[in-house]
């Protein structure tokens, strides 16, 4: 069917009339349901067995060894089951950006009246990010003349490495599913995520380029400033739950208020909402996303602190951004949206990790949605917004939370 | 405001200003009033017109009349209160030597870049310009391209094939 410009065929091409669009979207939703239904069914049926993979494998391999006549020492199990959660975290940080980048490209495209990746991977370009990753691996690694080679080399590493540590104390569902259960989980996450600023500064200075230097300085100033409202927004949660442990916070958010509203901190009157909003804004600023992405403002500084990076090093920065975004969303889900707690106890046949990932992905969607809607803030407005708006409101929020807790204890 | 009004106002300060006569019966001029002044008095003319309310310098350019051995510079002034009426001021410069005349940047900031462009393309020097440099071509470019007797000297941007070089 000939599809010429709209002036030839009519105000809309036949596949773009509102009716046709409605039909297309319902058809896509139907396909999505068909795809997701077995997946969710499998999740419900398997429950938490995937997390017991190692144990089950060990039991099975013991049985096999019994048939064959070998015996496997028991300390293998302890070592592997200690390493498994960490390997899981490592794997998650590799895989999550692959999905998130694709998802971001699709969401951005649909917001912008276009389609996004469609070719690579047969169905709506699912393998686009994989292809991009392979391309980046094969790219030439360019180091500018006059760059400080050590700093230039180490900057991406320092930017990414803390992310791996930060994922350790997060409960991926119910408190038992934490890779490394810690009593001071929140403190560790906040502390280590601040280390990545050093990576940005190293990148900015080590590249021997004015654009990078400006970008690095801006990024450092922004990251350091916005850590404060982020932590201040978390204080009411800590005060209310009475513990710094993330598993404990998930525990405190289980159940319902009056049987109607889930006991998530988001639904705590006034304090929950203000905290969540401040946390959301501060996280967007920490992860250098629009409207706070002046560190990598393409139209002003070409690429900011990662102008002079190519190939895998640039991919590391990219991965760092998405890893920290995932971390911020996961933390937000755990602290404000109840972590592994279901929407309603009746829905608890769905395993807790389904709820955790669902809430995390919901927050990721919020991040992406905000990115493609708002323009960018100027650096002094950004600083002003942090110090003169977010922090006072955060502190007021803490005071309010304290008052509520005092009233509750009376 | 008509031509005679403008001429009167001008002639108070610059008595040498005259209305452009038709040099040729068949010469079709635009309908705007055109006044010819000697080149050295351009500054005074600009000042006078600015006081008279012509606050917008619309354009400033030059024409190279090779046969008559002169450059003719054209300035157009417009009143923002009545843009339909504009005044064109013309002045002649001899082609030989290094033609120069006073700059009117102090009265009209719009003349800044337009005078630089005229210098760049014709080689007319504007005395008193704060930034007398080429604007469109690079510093050190040989020659003044819009002159009728300009011959292009080959530089590293020509690959020469159009004139038969190997």
């Amino acid at each position: 069917m000939a599809r010429g410009p709209w002036a030839v065929t009519g105000p809309w091409t036949p596949s773009q009339t509102p009716d046709a669009l409605r039909k297309r979207y319902t058809r896509s939703l139907f396909f999505l349901a068909v795809l997701l239904f077995p997946l969710i069914g499998a999740m419900i049926w398997l429950g938490e067995h995937p997390f017991r993979v190692v144990e089950n494998l060990f039991v099975f391999s013991n049985r096999v060894a019994g048939w064959v006549g070998i015996s496997i020492p028991a300390w293998h199990l302890t070592v592997i089951s200690a390493a498994m959660p960490l390997l899981f975290v490592l794997g998650l940080i590799q895989v999550a950006p692959i999905f998130m980048v694709w998802w971001e490209m699709k969401i951005a495209a649909h917001i912008q009246v276009r389609l996004g990746p469609m070719w690579v991977g047969r169905w709506h370009g699912v393998l686009q990010t994989v292809a991009d990753g392979i391309k980046l691996l094969l790219k030439e690694d360019i180091v500018p003349i006059g760059a400080d080679r050590v700093l230039h080399f180490l900057a991406p590493v320092v930017a990414v490495a803390p992310a791996f540590v930060c994922f350790a104390p997060i409960p991926f569902g119910r408190p038992g599913l934490t890779p490394v259960p810690l009593d001071t989980g929140v403190l560790l996450v906040m502390g280590f995520s601040g280390l990545s600023v050093i990576g940005l500064l190293m990148a900015g200075w080590g590249s021997n380029s004015k654009y990078s230097a400006l970008g690095g300085l801006r990024a450092a100033a922004q990251a350091v400033s916005y850590e404060i409202p982020r932590v201040i927004a978390l204080l009411p949660v800590v005060m209310w739950a009475g513990t710094l442990s993330l598993g404990g916070m998930v525990q405190a958010q289980s159940g319902m208020w009056h049987g109607v509203v889930p006991r998530w901190f988001l639904f705590y009157p006034v304090v929950g909402q203000i905290s969540f909003i401040i946390y959301l804004i501060a996280s967007i600023a920490e992860t250098n996303r629009t409207p706070f992405d002046l560190a990598e403002a393409e139209s002003e500084l070409t690429s900011g602190f990662h102008t002079e990076y190519s190939g895998m090093k640039w991919a590391m920065f990219f991965m760092a951004e998405y890893a920290y975004m995932f971390l911020a969303c996961a933390l937000g889900a755990v602290l404000f949206l109840g972590g592994g707690a279901p929407l309603h106890p009746a829905l608890s046949f769905l395993p807790s990790y389904f709820w955790f990932f669902g809430k995390t992905l919901f927050m990721v969607f919020l991040f992406i949605w905000i990115r493609w809607t708002y323009p960018r803030m100027r650096v002094d407005h950004l600083m002003e917004f942090c110090w003169k708006f977010l922090i006072p409101w955060g502190l007021f929020n803490v005071v309010l939370a304290g008052l509520f807790i005092l009233m509750r204890s009376r | 405001m008509s031509v005679t009004n403008v001429l009167e106002i001008l002639q108070k300060k610059v008595p040498e200003a005259v209305e452009c006569q038709n040099l040729d019966v068949k010469f079709v001029r635009g309908t705007d009033p055109q006044i010819k002044v000697p080149s050295v008095r351009v500054g005074a003319v600009a000042g006078c017109l600015k006081e008279a309310g012509f606050d917008l310098l619309n354009f400033l350019t030059a024409v190279d009349y090779l046969k008559e051995e002169r450059f003719e510079l054209i300035y157009q002034f417009i009143k923002t209160s009545d843009p339909a009426f504009s005044v064109i001021v013309k002045t002649d410069l001899p082609r030989s030597g290094s033609p120069s005349l006073p700059s009117i940047v102090e009265f009209y900031a719009a003349a800044d870049w337009q005078e630089r462009e005229t210098y760049d393309l014709f080689g007319i020097t504007f005395v008193g310009h704060p930034n007398p440099r080429r604007i469109l071509l690079w510093e050190g470019y040989p020659g003044w391209p819009l002159r009728k007797d300009y011959v292009h000297t080959l530089d590293k941007y020509d690959n020469g094939s159009e004139i038969g070089l190997p």
Binding site: P375, R376, V379 | V28, R29, F59, I88, A109, I135
Partner: protein, 416 residues
């Protein structure tokens, strides 16, 4: 001179034509760098000022995602604040005015397309007005109406592109795809049906226009205008009244009325500074006197006002188009003009019209032959850009992009 047979293999083989490059290039060391010296290399005539220790030179362009073409601006920065800005033009200089002297009058219309390639119809029209003034040609009514319709549609297209790219400069990526990728594509499709081209039209000819409207074009244009009005509301929701956008653009790059007039600024930039000057209303050309539309003027002269003036001008153009499409008379589309060997009488003329960026004028001197004797294009972007030197000082690097974007220049016109 190098080519495939004799590639230049050493530096000595490059012809040394410029005195300042003889004997090798003196390296511009960091100590003596100034914005001026960075422009022209070792420039012996310029006084070398020593910039202070805490200032930095930043070179924006010519390849840059945001300078709207090949414009180079050398900024002297004190931290984030600009202390001096020196624009460097000429990267797109193609010598259009010299080329005019070697082309026929009809051949030159194509070159006008490429001056301001975003509103090429208006460029064509300005040049044709100048030639027609000289030749005293009568334009048929339908041709004039078609010129107005295509000119206003092109103005809308140019302003849509401005909205999109200004949004990107400020950091909002999405309005670009709505304005540029949806509405402007519709206009370009209309033009493609009309004259076969999407950007450089060669449509307005001396004496009239080249093609008549195809069937159903008027209905499509009307449906587009209805759609455009709805989309303006969308842009307002998404961009114009967005608090972040307003923070970035309100109060930034204020251009006072007196400064604007002194610099010869015209068009939307001047109207944003409070001067109600629109050639279509005060000195109408073509059939503009038959249409009634409201002037668009704002008083503050900051970036937001310049943006809103252009956004409101889209609505104004829709108003004009409604009237023009409704009253379109039947008739010829070309006046009595010789098809070949066009020779205007000896003389000169100047004609200008209200372009999308300012007053676009053509000064034409004819000596009776088939080629113009002298042709000067009064390019609004060139004249408007001069104010950049003064306006940028005191603002931050982020504002440089906002201010440059809001002046809305097209490098084809600036450099010609």
């Amino acid at each position: 001179m190098s080519n495939d047979k004799n590639p230049i293999s050493t530096v000595d083989q490059i012809p040394q034509t410029t005195p300042s490059f003889k004997g090798g290039v003196e390296p511009v060391g960091r100590v003596n760098e100034t914005a001026d010296s960075l422009i022209n290399g070792p420039c012996f005539e310029t006084k070398m000022e020593r910039i202070s220790d805490h200032e930095m030179l930043l070179n924006m362009g010519p390849q840059h995602p945001s300078t709207h073409g090949v414009l180079r601006v050398v900024l002297q920065l004190d931290g984030e604040v600009v202390t001096k800005a020196v624009p460097d033009l000429g990267y797109l200089h193609r010598g259009v005015e010299k080329l005019a002297e070697h082309r026929n009058y009809s051949q030159f219309i194509i070159l006008t397309d490429r001056d301001d390639y975003l509103c090429a119809m208006l460029n064509n029209w300005a040049y044709c007005l100048a030639v027609e003034k000289l030749m005293k040609v009568e334009i048929p009514g339908r041709a004039d109406y078609l010129r107005v319709i295509s000119g206003e549609l092109n103005r809308i297209a140019s302003h849509l592109l401005f909205i999109g790219t200004f949004g990107i400069d400020i950091g909002a990526f999405t309005p670009f795809l709505y304005a540029f990728g949806r509405e402007r594509e519709m206009i370009l499709d209309l033009f493609e049906q009309l004259c076969g081209a999407r950007i450089t039209y060669n449509y307005v000819r001396i004496g009239g226009v080249s093609n008549d409207l195809p069937d159903g074009w008027v209905e499509k244009a009307k449906s587009f205008i209805v759609h455009m009005r709805e989309c303006l509301k969308e842009y307002d929701d998404l961009l114009s009244y967005n608090p972040i956008f307003m923070d970035r653009t309100k109060g930034v790059g204020v251009l006072s009325k007196e400064k604007a007039i002194a610099y010869g600024i015209t068009g939307p930039n001047l109207r944003a500074s409070g001067v109600n000057l629109d050639l279509r209303l005060q000195a109408p050309y073509g059939v503009y006197s038959k249409f009634s539309f409201d002037p668009v003027v704002r008083t503050n002269g900051d970036c937001w006002d310049r943006y809103m003036v252009r956004r409101d001008e889209i609505a104004q153009s829709c108003q004009i188009l409604d009237q023009a499409l409704g009253d379109l008379p039947a008739g010829d589309i070309m006046g009595k003009v010789p098809k070949a060997n066009l020779r205007p009488p000896v003389g000169e003329s100047y004609a200008q019209l209200e372009g999308a960026r300012g007053w676009l004028g053509v000064y034409l001197v004819s000596d009776g032959t088939a080629n113009p004797y002298r042709l000067h294009v009064r390019a609004p972007s060139f004249v408007n850009l001069a104010v950049l030197q003064e306006t940028l000082t005191g603002w931050k690097v982020a504002d440089v992009v906002a201010i440059l974007g809001s002046i809305d220049i097209v490098l084809g016109e600036v450099d010609r």
